[in-house]
Symmetry: C2
Subunit: 426 residues, 2 copies
């Protein structure tokens, strides 16, 4: 039986989960895949953490060089996260001819091109299913299954923390801070939640997914980003009333005018399959020219779901004799002929606080009309605060810049103030 030696760099949540999956399923993989996966080394500075998992002391390393020079190691699993030392370790492993399986979205997003060059040079494998959406089999599906399609869009709920917070706010009417606190208590949000709630995590993942989908590098710096920390419960409630659910969506589109990539809160029609993706669940909704609409749904994070993706890559790497590289993706920049659309088109939800007197509504609608924005739905709220009333508008498809212009003009009137602008998918 073919023996596959694995080294795990980092025994945090995902590293520990991967270790447990591999050791507990060793016989299962022997029987069903015909390979014996043996953990030869772990790299972990906290020796007790490794010992607590039952790892023999002789297998615990603190220096990547020990792993690179161990001829028993075939595949190095990098689950440290962040750029350094992860990047140097991955490059060292690849340059010593080891294949690498990584869950590190930031590293792969920012330096995938360097890693892949090293992998190709050394004929080593580089697998990264676990970088995006945990256990959801999105990357291999795009690379090895739906790869005959020209994709027009990739839209995802790809961050579990924010989806948990928004689900709580939607279902219990909790405000943002309370929902965030609850997420922290349950371990769904980190002590410093910035990367999740401000959309950075989703930006890294969208960079990876849209690069694969659109066959050109989509640098994360091209992605428009807006988080959920400023979301007001009122907008979730008005959205509901109008038939929409608020989600943090990562949106990649490829059309005649170019590529659009953006991460922002979005009111999505409540009947859309993505609207019913709740709590920590994630999903990616793709449209390909042959396959049509496809959605992949599951747990986007966690020791075992992400471990499942890592183990899937390990077995794939071990059972396929050649490694396929997505050359065109892993350049540093987009292809020179790639156009990024910044003034994109969307429907919009606009909530205004208006002076409660005659003539205000006609002034607001006149400005919208002047900016070529036509109104699809409309609510004037019955409840008033003092002499102010709420006015909620859902527009037909219009341009981002037209909305910006209208917002500035409305605010300049002195009788109406735009409280929120949220993009809409009907």
């Amino acid at each position: 039986m073919k023996k596959i030696g694995v080294a795990i760099l980092g025994l945090g949540v995902v590293g520990g989960g991967t270790y447990k999956i591999l050791t507990e399923h060793r016989d299962f993989y022997k029987n069903t895949k015909g390979i014996d996966i043996v953990i030869e080394n772990v790299l972990e500075l906290d020796k007790n953490r490794a010992l607590a998992l039952g790892i023999e002391e002789s297998k615990i390393c603190t220096d990547i060089a020990e792993i690179c020079s161990n001829p028993e190691v075939d595949i190095v699993v990098e689950v440290i996260g962040g750029i350094e030392p992860a990047k140097s370790y991955v490059l060292a492993a690849l340059n010593s001819g080891k294949s690498v399986v990584t869950s590190n979205k930031e590293l792969y997003c920012k330096y995938g091109h360097e890693l892949e060059k090293a992998a190709k040079k050394n004929r080593a494998g580089l697998y990264f299913e676990a970088t995006c959406v945990g256990g959801v089999p999105i990357i291999r599906s795009m690379l090895d299954n739906l790869q005959g399609n020209v994709y027009s869009s990739v839209i995802g709920i790809i961050n579990g923390t924010t989806n948990y917070i928004l689900t709580k706010m939607t279902e219990s009417g909790t405000d943002y801070s309370s929902a965030l606190e609850e997420a922290k208590k349950l371990g769904y949000a980190e002590a410093d939640p910035t990367s999740d709630v401000e959309g950075f995590d989703a930006v890294y993942k969208l960079s990876i997914l849209s690069s694969i989908a659109f066959n050109t590098k989509i640098p994360y710096t091209e992605i428009y980003r807006e988080g959920i920390s400023a979301i007001d419960g009122a907008d979730i409630a008005f959205g509901k009333q109008l038939g929409y659910t608020l989600k943090l969506l990562a949106i990649g589109k490829n059309g005649k005018k170019g590529i659009e990539v953006r991460v922002h809160p979005t009111l999505i029609k409540s009947t859309h399959p993505l609207a019913s993706v709740k709590d920590c669940f994630n999903a990616v909704y793709l449209n390909g020219d042959s396959v049509g609409d496809v959605m992949l749904y599951g747990r986007g994070a966690g020791a075992y779901p992400t471990g499942s993706a890592i183990v899937g890559d390990i077995i794939f790497c071990a059972t396929h004799s050649n490694h396929v590289y997505s050359t065109f993706v892993n350049t540093e920049t987009a292809a020179t002929d790639t156009k990024f659309v910044k003034n994109f088109e969307s429907e919009y939800y606009i909530r205004l606080s208006v002076d409660d007197k005659a003539g205000v509504l006609s002034k607001v609608t006149a400005i919208l009309s002047k900016c070529s924005i036509s109104v699809a739905q409309f609510i004037q709220d019955g409840e008033r605060e003092g002499d102010k009333a709420s006015l909620v508008v859902i527009t037909h498809v219009t341009k981002e810049n037209s909305v910006k212009k209208a917002v500035a003009e409305i605010n300049a009137t002195g009788i109406a103030n735009v409280e929120s602008v949220i993009r809409v998918i009907s």
Copy 2:
């Protein structure tokens, strides 16, 4: 650039779709996959059908031997359907060293073991993503992505025709025959719809999917089958009232007592992700021990979605230098230690027509209780037909045989009659 020669056997709906995808995307595949996919031959008795697609006359064959002896052909796509001549053609192709990509679920389900033996002997590839659920990337995801999991269940809406009919019945209150007629008009049901509506199509697919999931051959003959042709609109309406949606589900489970495989109408909780899979859409809901719940959703049939799966297999076959065989799956029978659970456990919906007089309800509940069936929900219908009333019961989890026994005893009372029994997933 590597040239890949393809021959397509059969230019029906899927064959024609595959031909169009390959020819229209030829440059795209050159640019993005680095391979030039060339259609070298088609096997089609109706020459005009081939000519209408723009295929050169010299490429049209009527004899499989021409294709087997053409050194330019690397991959043979079988989209004829049925057992013969498809089986002989596939075996001939494999035995001449060609790899085969097939969408033929009946063939792969019944003779996969023979086909795979021939493939292995000749070191040829055998790919079958298109046999199940059209464009939904389920098979490669199970084989090459979630393959580190021990699956406890695979539950799917894997037949588009029946899902369309049930969606119509649910949403418009149409009866079964009218919904079937509408499906025929739209091309969603065949002139003879037996294979779809009686669940045979779903049984073939469940055999394939559960064999992969449970790492042992699940012969289709072991699968319990019940179609939708006897479904009464009343049960859909009562189900709705109780919070359930009626779907034809294919259910595979693997637990301590053994493997359960069954295709039957099921009332599934309306909040379950599968309940919102509508019209011709299909979905498979998996549970793996590491990944947890995963759902893959998309179009389960049609020229382009199924063509997408075929083209995905062609490119995968062309870009991976070794073919991996799932040896343990493709035996003719299940492993000798496999146990199939026939007296399975489920919740049940039972609708009775009862004499509208005192004492009937207590008699019915006494029988249920005697058969160890406990009641979870209960409706006595207000509308009466003559001196009969409807009584609807949803049970807690109980055994199939207990329900059968209770039904026989209730019918024997002469004062109550069981009109329908539908399994339930809460």
